[in-house]
Structure formats: C-alpha cells, structure tokens
Amino acid sequence: MAGLQPFQPSASNPWNKQKVIHFLRRLGLGGSPTQIKQALESEPLYFIDSTINNIKSRPLPASPVWANYTTADYDALNNDDLKFDHRDELYDSIFTDMINDGLRTKLFLFWHNHFVTELNVYDCNKYLWSYYTLLNKYCLGNFKQFVTDMGKNPAMLVYLNGNLNEVGKPNENYARELMELFTMGENNGYTQADVVEVARALTGWRCSQYSCNDVSFNSGKFDNKNKTIFGKTGNWGYNEVHNLIFTERKNQVAYFICNKLYTNFVYHTPDTEFVTELANLFIQSNWELLPVLKAIFKSDHFFENEFIGSIVKSPIECFIDLARMSGISQPNLIDRYGTFRYGSSNLGMELFNPINVAGWPGHFDWINENTLTQRWDYCKTIIGTLSNEKNRESLRQLAIDLSSPNFNNPDLITKALTLHFIGRELDTELHESAVLYLKGDIPQNYFDDGTWNLSWNEAPFQIANLLVYLVKLPEFQLS
C-alpha cells in the first residue's frame, strides 16, 4: 500500500538511467538518447513536471485540407482513392509524431482506447479528424468537459448510435457505455432504469455517416419530459446528465478513472490506497487530468523497482520504442506499408479500429506464441532499417555515446546497449550470450589484443546483431 508521496532521489535510490527510461516509456513511447541525457542532468521532479507541461502546451495538430470534407465534397472530386489517401496521410503524420515525440501520442492512445470508436463503423474522414483532435485537445485537459464533448462527437454519435436516439425511439447504447465504460464502471452506481432515463435525456443529437454532415441538435427529436436519474427527477437534458454524473456519482467516477490510469501507467493490479488518494486529488482539482497525471509520474510508488518492466508493451509501444531509443528518426523509418502501421495492425492493434467498444485489453493479451514470434520478425525489419546504409553511422554513434570511453570493450558496450534498449540489466547468462552476439563473426584475437573497437566498419552490423538478440528477449517485450 502506498500513497502519493513524491519520489526523492537518494544514494540508495538514485535518479538513474533505468528510472529515466521507465518514466519516458510509461508516459510516452520511449526516450530518445538526447531526452534521456537531458533527464539525467535534471532534477527529477522538475524534469517530470516540465515534460508533462510541455505536452499540455503543444499546439493541436494542424487541420488538413480535408478536415471538413463531406461525402458530397469527395464525390465532387471524383477520385475513389482520395478518401483513403487522406487517411494514409493522417496515419503517416501520427506515426511520424510517435517517432519524433511520442509523448502526447501515448496519451492519445490511452484515451482512444478509453473512448473507443471504430473508423470501420463511422467511415468518414471528417468525423475521424474531429475525433482525433478531440482526443488530443483533452488528453491532459478537464475530464468532465472531455466526456461532455465526446458524447456529441460525430464519430461517437455514429459508433454508439447516439444519432439514432430520439424521443419515442430511445437508443440506450451510448447511455449505457457512458456510465459503464467512460465514467463510472460496470454496475458501479447506476441501475438499468438509470440507463433508460439517461438515454432519454441524451436524445436529439443528429449526424449522418452517409453524408458526413455536421452535428446538430434537433429539439424536435429531444424527449422533452421529466426523467429520474440517480433518484433525481427533472426535465434533464444533455448537460444536466453530465452534471448529475459528476456530482451524484463523483466518487465512482474518480475512482474508476484513476484505477484505469493506474492499471495503464503503473501496473495492472492497482494499489487501492494509491488509487484512493489519486481519486481524491481528481475531485479536488475539479476533474483536471494534469495534476492527476503528474501525481502518478512523480510518485515514489511509480518508481518502485518492482514496477519497472512489469507491463507488456503494446505492438506500437514495442516498435516505436525501438525506433525512438535508437535516436534515428530518418523519414525512411516511416513506411506506410511497413512495420509500424501494418505490423501493429497485424498484431491486433489497428489504430482507430480497436477490437470492440471496451478497447484493447492490453498487457498479457498482447502476447501469445503467434504474436510474440511475429514481433521478433517485425523488430528485425526495423533493425534492418536502423542498420541500412543511411542510418548505420547513427547507430554506431549511439553505441559510442552510450559506452564512452570503453570503445573496445565488448562486455561494457553490450551492457550499455542492453541498459539502453531493455531498460535494465540482464541476468548473467543472458548477458554472456548477448556479448557473443555483439562479437558476431569477428575473430576473437581482435578482442583479445584490443585491436577491435567501435570505429571498425563492421561495428554497426555487430550492434544490429546484438539488437536482433535483444529484441527477442522476453525482457524487451516489457515496459
């Protein structure tokens, strides 16, 4: 059991590379070598604070030309491929952002998996853009406002049939998920009668995936009669429903959301004391997410050794982490049909198309015999890119920076690269094998007499050889 007390570095519990990588991996998608260096030179709580502030102050993604294209607009352009080209553009920009930064993208991924919609269902680029910007806007914003805006978002209106919910023909789909999945948690403070009544209060919002039109409120479709929600009766409308949830059921909401944040960012079995304190903070801060996220990442609890490497990386985390940690962000890493997008899709993580309304279960669910072996294959492809003609000098430089000044000591170079890419040290036996992979096919005498060093032409390939070994280790699959 642990509380929110912040991490304080000490001689026995220092701010070190392992902790820095842990933080950057959990908050974002892995740290670049520069970022890690900067973190190590900073005071930890200040670094964490400013990193999270920086995410919050980033401008929203710039709107593409097609941000408001309706079906009629696409029809007028008379090009069947255009709609899909535009989606590809968005995917490209997201994966580029992941590799270049990854911080807000990770939070975007979290909320995408919380407020699930499926592009395959709403199938409209305009709605996609609207949904995407909403997630970015509120990923560290006010949660109450986030939920309130989400229910009127066209992607969500289509996905959970809110746009079909009208007086006399109520559709309970969104009302149920609003409470069960988005705010309070299953069977946590509401009844079936509440679902029916909330649905009635949410009536009247319209939009159509066929025309991709704007969202509008049609008062004629609104159920303009009294409803009884959580025992309170009145002619409740959209905003009143949200006010009721966040006042009458504030404890349920706060605990449910903080519990979910904990399981995603700390460990999949929550610490009740920690989550309770976090929930109190959430209510006190009037549903602002920023202080809650900061409290998690600044806590002593978060940095406990036993949580480092305790969560299975998602496919996107696995691949992006590898690329980011390499420090290589050449545009050629972005391959529309390559590993990052299609590889993660093939492993069950297709962006904008989670498996169902409850989202990807994550953690152990990401790994089975089949997906694990495919991960090795995709990681190998990424390493192939990292060691190609364009990138191999950067790969060499990374090893030089990490192992300085031990440029001719394969043991220490392996240790440095392992700590960097795995985030912790390996057991002795695994480490000894790893050294053999770094040595590769260089005859032993060149190591014995000290002739070999990282400036050798073969070095980038040897580093890649080691990486191929490292990415296959179970340790690498964990964050």
Partner: protein, 538 residues
C-alpha cells in the same frame, strides 16, 4: 627468403592497422541485416489467425519436406583464416622450407600421409582416421580474385558467390529452401540446420528467413537441452515485474517449437567416448548426441576460433590443430559406436589461407587458398589435387588455387546429399565441376514422390511492376497458385487449372492485381501438397 615477398600488398597484417582497416572496408554486406539468433527460424505463420505450427503434426501438413537421405553434413569452420601450408605439409618442397625458416614444420615433427604429404604431430589423433580410410584432403582450394578481408571472404564462402557478387542468402540456406519449400507455412518440429556459435549465420540464410537454429554457446545449449526450455522460470520471484517476465518467458518457451525434438534427441543420444575439454570438442559432443539421438537435422555447423595467426604462429597454430584433431577424432569414435560414422560427412573450411611467407612477427598474414579436410567412414583415403606451387605465384606472392570451393559444395550437394544437378546448379551456380569420387554417391531423388515442386519468384528486370512466379511440377495435375496477406488470408487467386509436367512461369502486373507495397506470401498447391514462400513488394 621471406623478405622478397614483403610489402607486396598492404593490408593483410594486423600490425599495419590502417591498411588492415582498408581490408575491412571491402566489406559491404547486409544492407538488410541477416538474422542470427536462437529464433531465426521462429517466425510463426498463421492461417486465418490460427498459428500453423499448432497443426504441424496433422497429415495435411506433414509431407512438406523432401528430405529423404539419412545423411548428415557437419561443417567445421576454422575462424580467422587457416594456414594451409602448415596444416598439410608438402614434405619435400624445398621452397616451403626456404620461405618459412622459422615456421615450417620439420620432417621430424610430422607424420606421413603418403610419400609426399605430412601433417604435424599435433594432428596425430587424425592418423587412425586416415589409415582407416575415413579422411580425405583437397589441396589448394580457393576462388578467383580472392578477397583478403575476413568478413567479405567469409561471406563469399558462405554464399558461394563470385568475389564481386553480393548474395544475401547462404548455400545451405538455399539448399534447405529447396528441400523445404513450405518452411514458412508448415514449420518443421526439428531444426533443418543447427549451428553453435552466433557468427557466419549467412551460410544458413535462406531466401526469406534464416533456416538454422543458432545457439550461442555450448553452455546455452546444455541449459536448453536439459531443461527443455530457453528461459529460466525458476529464479523469478512474485514481484509485479517478475510475474510479467515469467508470463512472457513461458510464452517464449512454448513458442520455441524445436525444444521437444531437441530435448528428446539429446536425452536419447549418448556420448560413448570421452571428449577433450575444449570448446570445439564440446560442440561436437552435442552434435554427436543429437545425431545419435536421431534428431534428423541435416546440417550442423560448429566452429573453432583463433586461426588469424598474425604473430607468433608457432605458439598458437599447433595448439589449434591439436584441438581440431582431438575433437574430430572423438566425434567419429563416438559416431562409430552406433555405426553412424558412414552417415556423417565432416568438412573443414576457412575464409582463406595465409601468406606463404612469414611476416616480421613470426606469423603469417591473410592469404588465399588452403586445403579442405573431409571426414567420414567410406570416404576412402585420398588426396585430391596438388600442393600449391610456391614459386609461380600470383602478383601478390600468393599461390594460384587449384580447386574452386564451389566445386566442392556442388559435389557435396549432388553426391552426398543426393541433389539433382539442376538443383545444385541453382544453389551453387552453373558451370561447376563436381569432383569425381570425392564422397560416396547417393542417387538423386528427382522423380521420386518426395521431390515434387520448385517454387520461386523474381521481379522482372525490364519492368519493376512485373512479378514472375516460377514453378515446376514433376507430376501433371491440378495446380492452385494464390497470394495471401501476412495474416494468411487468400487475397488473390492466380491459377486454378490443370498443368503439365515441367517448368512454368506466370507473369502478373502488381498494379493490376493491386498488390501494394507490403508483405505477402504466395502458395502453390499441387499433388496434395502445399509450397509457400514470402513475397515482399517494394
């Protein structure tokens, strides 16, 4: 005298670091990294989301291998470039003794293979093998326009390429590709090839995947064979991190589909002689156990390091030869206990030989050709070719080679492993001349039930949009050819018709078939069997 050869060509001696580095610059393989490692062959394919290896034992997928022979090949790599002149000695060649005043093996320190040929007394363990007709030597093996870089020359030997030709797959990899065309889909439960040591994996690199199981060291192997699992679960605690690690380790252990067969063979096979306590001998002890335990793996590769004898060669080279000889001797004695020494062909090779002259550090620098040694019962005693001519050398003072190493490979494939010559041509290249009488001949399996189809593809040289799929069938009948996406879903059907015996080629336009850049597979169904290969559209 030795000084007449000095400084003819820079870059071969380690003392000359700058020039040595230039030698290394000639190495430019692996634009796309070739895989090494334990899981090189661990890629699991799926059909409709079902991992196929789970069906590995069903009848539908069983007849996918064309392996018929019970013969095994064991490659023994001498890493660093073995000094051939001091390995197989041309006893009465006065030039040898002139050129090597300090390094030459004296007549008093050798045993005679025949009237002209000797080997140093450090290799005395090989004498019984020689006398029992279990050993052969091929003199002066090399290739035209030799490369003096360890790495490039290793690659040339591994890929069986010309000196200026960069291939990305290895000769054994290509062999297995053709023996097991459906490797990617219906994966075997035994490793088709197994190497101990993580280097020179290129030998086993197939068209799309590395076909060998590579194990980094004998220690790692023992752990695997004894526990039957790759990763230890016993040392983990109940902390969150350890619990998660235990989960992934468990999955990795069960994904390692060779563990059962290796563990079984290892426990069934027995070492019936004492092996010397050297790394090579320990590797060969493992190989013997697996062969005797009838694992079924066709090709093994082991290695011994240290042959890059730039300095004080006489302190090192004799010890290496002693270790090599004692290990091979123990290995064949062990195999003989079960009467299997006629089923196992052992073959040494090294990336190059060494300069015929001594350098200033009582060592030798990177050279060119060197002898190959072959072992196995039934080889009949013999020395193929002639010792190198030390007087009429090339412009750099290295001898002209006599036998091309690819002729040796072609002979091993055709005679020892029973490959039809056209398959051998594909693997090694045309215009090879197999060496008559080198090894006992196994009849080619062409035309048998087991060898039914060849399947491959290439992008047309004229038009990058044209994909050519080549296949040949040895029995006429219905043929289905289809393209699958990475998850194993059939996305295009290309052929579904009756085809005659022989070779066929299908050309398709990628654009027309909407095959966007990405990973695919294509699958040939014929004669009740399935052959599948990976296809990457760029």
């Amino acid at each position: 005298m030795s000084h007449k050869y000095h400084n003819k060509r820079k870059g071969r001696t380690i003392e000359n670091t700058e020039a040595h580095a230039i030698d290394h610059k000639t190495w430019n393989r692996r634009d796309f990294l070739q895989s090494t490692g334990l899981f090189a062959a661990g890629l699991a394919a799926t059909v409709n989301g079902v991992p196929l290896y789970a069906m590995g034992t069903s009848e539908h997928f069983s007849p996918l291998s064309a392996f018929e022979t019970d013969r095994t090949l064991v490659l023994i790599q001498l890493r660093g470039g073995n000094d051939g002149l001091n390995t197989v000695i041309d006893r009465f060649n006065s030039e040898y003794y002139n050129i090597r005043p300090t390094l030459a093996i004296a007549e008093s320190n050798l045993w005679a293979l025949d009237q002209k040929t000797g080997m140093s007394n450090q290799t005395i363990d090989l004498k019984p093998l020689w006398e029992e007709d279990k050993m052969k030597i091929i003199h002066n093996v090399g290739y035209p326009h030799p490369n003096y870089s360890h790495f490039r020359s290793s690659d040339i030997w591994a890929t069986a390429s010309d000196t200026d030709e960069y291939k990305k797959d290895g000769w054994i990899g290509r062999f297995i590709d053709y023996e097991m065309p459906a490797f990617g889909e219906a994966q075997p439960t035994i490793p088709p090839a197994l190497q101990i040591g993580v280097q020179t994996d290129l030998v086993f690199q197939g068209q799309n995947t590395n076909l060998a199981l590579a194990i980094s060291s004998p220690n790692e192997f023992y752990k695997l064979a004894v526990s039957g699992q790759l990763y230890d679960l016993t040392s983990l605690n109940q902390t969150p991190a350890d619990r998660s690690l235990a989960y992934v380790r468990q999955v990795a252990n069960s994904a390692f589909r060779y563990s059962q067969s290796i563990s079984n063979a290892y426990n069934k096979g027995r070492n019936e002689v004492n092996y010397p306590d050297t790394n090579l001998a320990q590797q060969l002890a493992i190989v013997a156990k697996l062969i005797k335990g009838r694992l079924g793996t066709k090709v093994f590769m082991v290695y011994i390091d240290g042959f890059d004898t730039h300095a004080n060669q006489n302190n090192n080279h004799p010890i290496l030869l002693q270790r090599l000889s004692s290990a091979i001797s123990a290995f064949y004695s062990d195999l003989a206990k079960l009467g299997m020494d006629d089923k196992v062909l052992g073959m040494t090779f090294s990336e190059f030989g060494r300069t015929i002259y001594e350098n200033g550090s009582a060592g030798t620098d990177h050279g060119t050709s060197a002898p190959i040694m072959l072992f196995g019962k039934g080889l009949s005693k013999g020395i193929i070719g002639n010792p190198p001519d030390l007087i009429n050398t090339d412009q750099y003072g290295d001898p002209h080679f006599e036998t091309d190493f690819r002729d040796v490979y072609a002979t091993v494939l055709q005679s020892w492993l029973g490959m039809p010559s056209e398959v051998s041509d594909f693997i090694i290249g045309k215009d090879r001349t197999p060496i008559e009488g080198l090894v006992p001949v196994q009849n080619p399996t062409v035309g048998s039930e087991a060898f039914e189809a060849l399947l491959g593809h290439k992008i047309s040289a004229e038009d990058k949009d044209v994909l050519q799929i080549h296949y040949s069938i040895l029995q006429e009948g219905p043929v289905i050819l289809e393209i699958l996406d990475k998850s194993g879903q059939v996305i295009r059907s290309l052929i579904n018709e009756f085809k005659t015996y022989g070779s066929h080629m299908l050309e398709i336009h990628l654009k027309k078939y909407q095959l966007h850049p990405g990973h695919y597979q294509y699958r040939l169904k014929t004669g009740g069997k399935i052959y599948q290969r990976d296809l990457v559209v760029r």
